[in-house]
Symmetry: C2
């Protein structure tokens, strides 16, 4: 049984509702849309990500025998209902934003059209998959915007929330413009570049720091990046200057150094001076340690001579905004638009489309959230990606998505690129959508 | 290949260091300890969790053929080194805090003693496993302390960071004292109770709310919990009062209602009044929607008549403190204590033990962090759980861990139980440990 695609990777209430739909023969077509109710105050835009895994989930979803046995033994489900799940498949269609597309509050990034039980069961895992990669891609994009031209690497596996988060963070950061990840399995799975230097333990396991540098360089001649801050950063830089000629005689170049603690800007300046004076001007400086887009902006504003950054914990857990208010709501059932009216949580009904407006040179000027069957000015962003439970196109290569992100980020209004939220990106609600909502509100239930 | 136990689920630098250790034949015994450098300002104590999965990882760790092939093709690793990984096994010993034990800054929760390469490779995944469950168990314990006697259920799967996080959050919350989780697969995997009601979509898919209530109740006669806030909470409560006699005639009892939006305390009071007046005093009220320990305290302080809480996003992502500064550091190699001295990140060297002091009635009064071979007053907390790569005891049943947590929470100083951090829990550093650190600091490297 594959954990990632398990049919029981869902909330129990989906199954109790499916049992009701089964008893009442409620199998008509349902339309659900997945969107962010609002953006966190720390985000001016989001980047859609995770569609690849969401489609894989829908295509492969079925109940394993042991899952059906467990449900039968659970006590809450009738034998007839459990038997009906044996042939459960997702047979619906999906519209979605291509991965890497920028989006805003209330804009659907996914629409599922399927018989009600199918569209219902998949809610929990679809949100789970799209939420996390969207969260990380959006955070990573902020880092990319904060440090143009710098090498950025995901270092966050150890404090990502579990194995899947670590792998998906590597993928989402890469598609948002990171150079790669330290997580080896992400390299194997997604074919993204992996990066790695050394840890303090290698230095500590040697009696002399210079021996550790030399042994590491000899064992890794093609990738010599040395960690300077185990004891004293500048002393270590001087040891390296002394060591470099001996390594050069053996044909080994030092490629870079890493600084992981203290005042990174000040250490980088001093180390740069020591390296340059020691004929090591080509050696790059990497920094790490509690970094995020805010620290990157500070360090670069302070003129820190740092060439690359390892960004870990604060990326993989998106610590300043660790969740998004992403929801999946019924918008239509059996041909009729539906609207939830809960206080503070009301939704826009019907099958919607995002119409994006641009200037002649491609800069984004605003979106209109309208109905799919009443086109507005602008490019419609949601495209059909699945029909009858099958994908309509092969997986998008990550490099294509990276190119899309690059163009998206370049086209955003400068105030958003700079990480400021005022004025917010304009998203107009089409009048026909407002009218539909008002009409539904007059119905009693 | 099992994702959770993959040998490539690690940082690349572990493998570049292993290549160095291989080249230099550095195979002597290393001692690493895993601890929190500091607690987040929002936490007064942590609960150790995740040991079960950590031991499972260590016991089953090996390189799959496809992983070795990938490493061979990566370019950074010599054929001899890759060949040496074929027989890689973890053969070391492990000391650890039993799951559910409260701990504080600088106190090791795990100690690994193994040949250096083995102890090194496992760093990333050991932190990843222990970090997340410790994070969630600690957050869940705060909710338990905030709402004594209330039914608490994990509702967080959809915004947990991936599939593994969702499953581990359910486990960690349960061991910390939650009644169970909505995540079905967690119920199957960990044998913990699962809970579920209904979503707004079931109501919306019906033309009349009362029909939705009736159909759901008929299909789930043993578990009728109805969601009230799709349109208007109090109107829905009145519909339920009208419906109850008809259901009773069919032998169906309404067990509970759920409120998910608006002013939860005020709605709960009004709904309680409507239900009591309608002869439904036995129907319980559940609340959900952006809840955490702070909101629980507010709601209960306001006297809200709420019997149970579904706690989701803010639990599974521990949103007020989404990561812990958990690290894994070399403390001894080849028989000699080691110390990292990086600015702000210096560690206490040697094999340590936590000695916990209690009053006669079991209340905790303080810990002493000392050396294992120089016992101090108090109960030593770290116990040996693995030797020669094999567990010394079978998995601990979750109910045993729950009992331990209950006792731990009851024994904490009242100020910590109340969620206040002043005065902090006293952890004394033993003088012999300070002397050892000072002695190592005089060495040059």
């Amino acid at each position: 049984m594959n954990l990632a695609n398990s049919a029981l990777l869902t909330d129990l209430y989906q199954l109790t509702m499916l049992q009701t739909y089964h008893a009442e023969r409620m199998q008509e077509t349902a339309v659900f849309e997945l969107f962010a109710r609002r953006l966190p105050p720390e985000r001016e835009f989001l980047l859609a990500a995770g569609l690849e895994q969401a489609l894989d989930y829908l295509e492969n979803l079925r109940f394993a025998t042991e899952e059906l046995d467990w449900l039968a033994g659970h006590g809450g489900f009738s034998p007839q209902f459990v038997a009906s799940l044996e042939d459960f498949r997702f047979t619906g269609s999906v519209h979605a934003l291509p991965e890497g597309t920028a989006f805003f509050a209330n804009e659907p990034i996914l629409r599922v059209v399927a018989p009600l039980p199918e569209a219902q069961l998949v809610e929990s895992r679809l949100i789970n998959l799209l939420h996390y990669q969207t969260l990380i891609a959006s955070k990573a994009a902020r880092c990319v915007l904060a440090a143009p031209g710098k090498l950025l690497v995901d270092f966050g596996m150890r404090r990502a929330h579990g194995a899947e988060a670590a792998l998906f963070a590597a993928r989402a950061a890469y598609l948002a413009g990171f150079a790669g990840s330290a997580t080896v399995l992400a390299g194997m799975r997604f074919d993204i570049p992996v990066f790695g230097t050394m840890a303090h333990s290698l230095i500590q396991a040697h009696d002399r720091e210079e021996d550790a540098f030399e042994h590491f360089a000899a064992a890794q001649p093609g990738n010599v990046v040395l960690l300077l801050d185990t004891y004293d950063t500048e002393t270590a830089a001087r040891k390296l200057v002394a060591l470099a000629p001996h390594l050069r005689e053996r044909g080994i170049q030092i490629r870079g150094v890493r600084i992981d603690s203290g005042d990174l800007a000040e250490h980088a300046r001093r180390v740069r001076g020591i390296l340059n004076a020691g004929d090591l001007a080509q050696v790059t400086i990497l920094a790490s340690g509690d970094l995020d887009e805010y620290r990157l902006r500070e360090l670069l504003a302070a003129g820190a001579p740092i060439d690359g950054f390892g960004i870990g914990t604060r990326l993989d857990a998106s610590t300043d905004a660790p969740t998004l208010d992403l929801v999946y709501k019924l918008q239509e059932y059996a041909g009729l638009p539906r609207r939830k009216r809960s206080e503070g949580k009301a939704t826009w009904p019907g099958r919607k489309q995002i119409y994006r407006q641009r200037t002649a040179n491609g800069a984004l000027t605003g979106d209109c959230l309208g109905l799919e069957d009443m086109p507005r000015t602008g490019e419609p962003l949601l495209v059909k990606v699945m029909e009858n439970g099958h994908r309509l196109a092969p997986s998008e290569p990550l490099d294509i998505i990276r190119d899309r992100v690059r163009m998206q980020l370049a086209a955003l209004p400068p105030v958003l690129r700079a990480g400021r939220g005022e004025p917010p990106y304009p998203v107009e609600i089409a009048p026909e959508l407002r009218e539909l909502a008002a009409r539904l509100d007059q119905k009693t239930h």
